[in-house]
């Protein structure tokens, strides 16, 4: 395939951007879920 | 009291406030002048180049100066919480917005009235035959700048870093206006000046769309 390097780079970039974003969202989700759990326990503990 | 009547009274207040010190106006004019002069240092344009890039430079100077000038519009109200007093008055929120828009329009127009002749002299562009058409383009462009700028001044006054935020919000929104205004001005500065009706219609359309949007959203904009 001619001009393959650019296609490959573009392909990788698309996935990098997409997964980069998805992973940050997923990580923040886990953090928030833990925080909620902690707060709920604190609330019930009173 | 009608909206327009209330707006008129507020306009009077804004004008009186400004003409007491004239600091905003002078700062705006000087800043725009600095931009215009800097350009000649940065590019050292020939006559043909002046004609070509002049309109763009002129409008950029207006946009930058305008973004700085529009900030105090609402941030001034924050210092003594005078906006609350305005809200409590028996007038519609749109009257407040309209009054400020009209005041800003007048300030920008005064700045432009000073700047355009200076610009014409500095860059050897004759504006004798095109005065009224140029006034039309300038008015429509300034209206767009002032309408959106006043709304965003109200938005950014409530945020941090408002001096940086206002241009950041305003300039991307104004790019269609900039394109149409620069093209119109450029066609007026040609050897054979002409004014395309589509461009004027576009500028007018831009103004109408955002004025209507401001009217529809003013309640949410100025609430506590």
């Amino acid at each position: 395939m001619k001009n393959f390097e650019f296609l490959f780079t573009a392909w990788m970039v698309v996935w990098a951007i997409f997964f980069g974003y998805e992973i940050t969202v997923a990580r923040r989700l886990t953090q928030v879920r833990e925080e909620i759990e902690r707060l709920r326990q604190q609330l019930n503990g009173r | 009291m009608t909206t327009v009547g209330a707006a008129g009274i507020l306009l009077g207040k804004e004008l009186r406030l400004e003409f007491r010190s004239r600091e905003l106006l002078s700062a705006t004019i000087i800043f725009a002048l600095v931009v215009v002069v800097l350009f000649s240092f940065a590019f050292d344009p020939t006559a043909a180049e002046s004609r070509r890039y002049g309109p763009g430079l002129l409008w950029i100077a207006f946009l930058f100066a305008g973004s700085l000038m529009l900030n105090p519009s609402f941030s001034r109200e924050q210092t003594n919480e005078t906006l609350d007093a305005l809200r409590m008055a028996p007038i519609s929120p749109f009257a407040i917005l309209l009054g400020k828009m009209l005041a800003n329009f007048i300030f920008m127009s005064v700045a432009e009235l000073v700047l355009v002749p200076v610009f014409a002299v500095l860059y050897n562009i004759s504006i004798v035959g095109i005065v009224w058409r140029l006034v039309l383009v300038l008015s429509l462009g300034t209206t767009g700048l002032v309408v959106t700028g006043t709304v965003f001044s109200a938005v950014s006054a409530q945020a941090r870093m408002r001096e940086l935020l206002l241009p950041l919000l305003l300039l991307p929104i104004l790019t269609p206006l900039l394109i149409a205004a620069v093209e119109s001005t450029a066609s007026l500065f040609q050897e054979q000046p002409s004014l395309d009706r589509t461009r004027v219609a576009f500028l007018a359309g831009f103004d109408i769309v955002f004025l209507t949007a401001s009217w529809l959203l003013c309640d949410y904009l100025l609430e506590d």
Binding site: N3, L29 | V151, L165, I179
Partner: protein, 242 residues
């Protein structure tokens, strides 16, 4: 939970098949060869972006009319996702342009308009970052979002009408040539696949925003309860905590 798993499965299958089609099934283009295949996900990302922005506009209007927090959550999620899609478009564009035109960037109508769009919605996110009060954040960013959305057609129109001095992107042989049926099919498949991907991220981001709000509410609840306890006489407070 199961629904999301099923949806992720469908999306993964779609994306896999679309990728395969774009890379191997679609015919090789005469002049550009392999790099033309970028076109399949380039167009898809912009289509996904516009869909997200339309949802954002509706969410902004809905928030101002109803003041329900979920619409604000929808708005910010949509803008972040749209900016992501726009970034993908703006990066794949130059990667396609370089081997084809010899330059990474040109100020042609479409590219310029999309760049402005990108800046516009990043400004939205910056605005939210600089506003502290949550209600102000929601209502002011909704107002800005509405203005931005109204601006979008004007940006594209003004660039299309008056900035045509630069080379216009030639997609597959020029305006008059049309598209071979196989290419059109693969394109539609890729557009759909990217749309599903966009929705997936959108849902996750929206969930994050909802949970954050729940977190804030819990914190508020805890603070108000501890304030209540503090205002009671010591004996009553002791009875409460035991």
């Amino acid at each position: 939970m199961k629904g999301r798993l099923a949806y992720t499965g469908i999306t993964a299958a779609l994306v896999f098949f679309a990728g395969y089609a774009a890379l191997f099934l679609a015919p090789d283009e005469a002049t550009m060869h392999a790099v033309q295949r970028i076109f399949y996900f380039h167009v898809g990302s912009w289509n996904a972006m516009f869909c997200a922005l339309f949802v954002v506009f509706c969410a902004n209007v809905a928030y101002l009319l109803t003041r329900k927090q979920k619409y604000d959550a929808l708005g910010v999620s949509g803008v972040e996702v749209a900016v992501m899609c726009c970034t993908i478009g703006l990066v794949t564009g130059p990667l396609w342009a370089k081997p084809v035109w010899g330059i990474y960037w040109t100020w042609d109508a479409r590219l310029t308009s999309t760049f402005i769009l990108w800046l516009l919605y990043i400004a939205y996110l910056l605005l939210r970052g600089l506003l502290e009060d949550p209600e102000k954040k929601a209502s002011l960013s909704a107002i800005f979002g509405i203005f931005a959305f109204l601006d979008v057609p004007m940006v594209y129109l003004s660039n299309r009408l008056w900035r045509t001095q630069h080379p216009q992107p030639v997609i597959l042989g020029g305006a008059g040539s049309g598209m071979a049926p196989m290419i059109a099919k693969v394109l539609v498949l890729c557009i759909v696949a990217m749309f599903f991907l966009m929705v997936l991220v959108f849902i996750d981001r929206y969930r994050l925003e909802q949970l954050r709000n729940e977190c804030e509410e819990l914190r508020f609840e805890i603070e108000s309860r501890s304030a209540q306890v503090q205002s009671l006489p010591p004996s009553a407070a002791q009875r409460m905590s035991s």
